[in-house]
Amino acid sequence: MSFWIIVIITLIYLAILFGIAYFFEELAKRGKHIINSAFIYAISLTVYCTAWTYYGSVGNAVTDGISFLSIYLGPTLSMPLWWIIVRKMIRICHNLRVSTLADFFAARFEQSWLVSVLVTIICLAGIIPYISIQLKSIVGSINILSDQDILIADNSFFLNDTAFYLSIILAFFIIVFAFRHIDSMEKHNGLIGAIAFESIFKLVAFLLVGVFATYVAFDGFGDLFSKAQNVEKYAVEFSAEWPFMIFLSMNAIILLPRQFHVAVAENHDETHLKQASWLFPIYLLAINLFVIPIAIAGELSLDGSIDPDTYVLALPLFFDQQILAVVSYIGGFSAAIGMMLISTIALSTMLSQNVVIPLFIRKSDSAISLKQTMYIKRVSVFAILLLAYLFYKIVAEQFSIVSIGLISFAAVSQFSPALFGTLYWSDFNKNAIVGGLVVGFLIWGYTLVIPTLIQVGLISQSLIVDGPFGIGWLNPYALFGSDIENHIVHGTLWSMLFNISTILVMVVFGQQSDKERFLADYYLNPFTYGTKYSERLVWKGTVVYQDLISVSNKLLGQQRVSQAVNFYHTHYEAPLKKSGEVNSQFINYMERLLSGAIGSTSARMLIASIAKSELIVLDDLVEILKQKRETAMLNEKLKAKSKELELKSTQLEIANNRLKNLDQEKDEFISTVNHELRTPLTTIKALCEIIYDHDDMEDEERKSFLETVINESERMTRLINQVLDLEKLESGKVLLQMETISYAKFLDQVLFPYEKQCEEKGIKFFKNFTKDEIIIYVDKDKLTEVIVNLVSNAINHTDNGYIEVSVRLEKNQVITSVKDTGKGILPAYLDQIFDKFFQIKKNENQKPSGSGLGLSITKKQVMLHGGKIWANSQIDQGSVFSFSLPSTKTSDE
């Protein structure tokens, strides 16, 4: 086919692209946003599939089998994460009016110019060769199609070079459609429309070639595979390189400047991510469907001398399908040119907004005009395409699409630790991102770029054989003596390792300013802030109204500025003074407006340059944040205090209840004592009055009355003594006079009078203990009272039968029991008999003899000795009262 026919066809196709772009642009102007659809968004993401995919996949399949798929697996696997990560990036970029990768990172570190320049340099170094290689693929495809070698074989003067003209045409296309608007935040509807068209075209073209190869040239998949000579190389066989390729492509799909541009900067609606997450993988699947059939068909049909990278074009030509060949050529052209377009836009935006314009602002004393900005942007476009062309001219000849592509991937992968740090790590600081990027970038360059220069012959071969200056462990292909055959894996591994390590060290030893901490909080939780709040990402400083307006007028034009000021007037609450210092909200508003034109880093610089005093950025927000933290801390403290108080209050309540109970007990005790004292007193008084008033009483009667008076007086005395005893015991005022005694001897003495009493009453008395066996340590008087009380109670309640006092040893306890054969006690009363004033009446007509305090006193006395007292009883068979005392030792020991 004639070279010139191909040129004309190419130009026609470019004209169609221009037309489409123009059409979409006009449509958008009339308010019909066709571009604003999830489908177009998903399709525009396939700018990922470049000439590498279009030509390189088949070539890769022929040489390495199935491994070509790995770089599509990464993006597919990462799609579910997009809703989490990319949505966050979109939200941040939208709210902060950020449109480039460099601004995205820089904005988290107070619009750091250093960060934005660093990111731009890495992108330029990583991507320009990638653009060159697309240029090479276009030229290569024209060569094959025209069956000539005139285009690149000789070092022809550039004016005769197709690639040069192609670069110029692209530059114009970009300037017309991408940089027509001053505001880079505005979406490029025409451009994205053209990209979508190209993306569909490259897929259709590739599928047509695939269908032709499979069903026309051969007889379907079965036929192809049966004829293939070494089909086993297409078997799915995972190698150690796969994880690396998947990792690199996962990073590339979002961190390549062109991918960031279409996925984040050109996104109209976050929900488009949902459709994209399945549409995009389907596209990837479709475009890879016929890679292996084309590879096999090419191997079977074509001469072995033909480069497998060109099978997609060579195959239709071999079968003399001229039209299919042209379609295939345009498909490949589309793939290459789509990548070149978006990459150049993204890179030139970064170059101008993050490097050149800030430099300009610094040099030119705040004055930058609209004309100058546009000029800088245009020059950037030309500069980048020219650099790409030069790279192509000088070195690209030597490399395959795949190898350059992967080196690019490795370059942008240096951003991935920074991306995670930026989005998910609150302690991530500026030193960490700068350190990580510099170290990662240097190692990337040393292990992946320097060796390629050897291939070209710019550097001596000895570097990769013996290492620099003969130092083996610095060999860029075998760093630290590592033995990794695949240079991409080797370079990726070491650069990432150093990148991440540097970040970790810097985060540990680095410091964050308050402002950085606030921005970190914003980057970590952009969804909680909302648009209103992000508008508050303001700076407080003294900027004079006239200065701000004059700077803005220069950059945006008087008309736009006055429109914006009017809009501010009507839509914002804060009043606007048209002279003197302006409020921070207005500065922020204008900064956002300027960001659109020159990027956020440049806009920040521009405003900083006209600020009267040092600007204090975000001060009030830092304050708010601090307050928020303090409030949270206070809340925590309050919660703890309130819990403590609650606990104290329950403790108090318990104590209070106990006191109340004690109080009530005391009241009851006093009231009972009152009653118990008044009763004998009543009798005494009444009887005395009777005797006094009745002289005529019989002697017998008088004597009997007087006897009662005496008895009742004794009863009263006893009661008073016992009450006092009990009070002493209860208040702990009793001091025991402890001494060591022989228990048996002591018991004999105490019990002696009661043996006699029993004899008189006609009941038996048994003593059941061995002489001199037990030594105890007790207060003799108190213990005497205990025994006397128990024994006399037993005798009082027993009319016939016997009393038995026994002693036994049980686990270091001396247990003394007093058994009687009296009436017994109802089981229900057994617990109460030791309570104060608890009395069981012998019968209905008889007042009990005791005061009702005896057993409670006994109980207290036993307890004072460290013992216990209890009772067992059976009605009509008698009771056993037992008490324990701690034994000290037996006399045997």
Binding site: R678, T679, T682, A686, T708, K841
Partner: protein, 128 residues
């Protein structure tokens, strides 16, 4: 004292035998027909049977206490005319108020004056 047998009936209720002893002696000396009860149950039973003119009632007794006895006596058709004198060791104002509130004619505290008691008893005894 010209009292008929019917008008001289008096019931003394206490769980303390020595108090019963002195009351019985005093009342008999003054010509009353004395009935004795040692608890609330007994008191109610005798009150129903004998319908005494006056009842001298202790309060702190096991089972049925004096307040309850008084209430039952005063609300029963049979015994509603019986005059009730509380004779109690309970000396707190609220105890005394409670006694009058449930219908007592007199509340005396222990220890009591025999002279005063006899005077009050004679005042409460209906004259023919």
């Amino acid at each position: 004292m010209n009292l008929t047998d019917q008008e001289k009936k008096i019931l003394i209720v206490d769980d303390e035998p020595n108090i019963l002893l002195s009351l019985e002696f005093l009342l008999k000396k003054n010509g009353y027909d004395v009935f004795i009860a040692r608890n609330g149950h007994e008191a109610l039973k005798i009150a129903d049977e004998e319908r005494p003119n006056i009842m001298i009632l202790d309060i702190m007794m096991p089972d049925v206490d004096g307040y309850e006895v008084c209430q039952k006596v005063k609300t029963s058709e049979l015994t509603k005319d019986t005059k009730v004198i509380f004779l109690s060791a309970k000396t707190k104002p609220e105890d005394i108020e409670k006694g009058y509130a449930i219908g007592a004619d007199l509340y005396l505290t222990k220890p009591f004056s025999t002279r005063k008691l006899m005077k009050e008893v004679s005042l409460l005894t209906p004259t023919s």
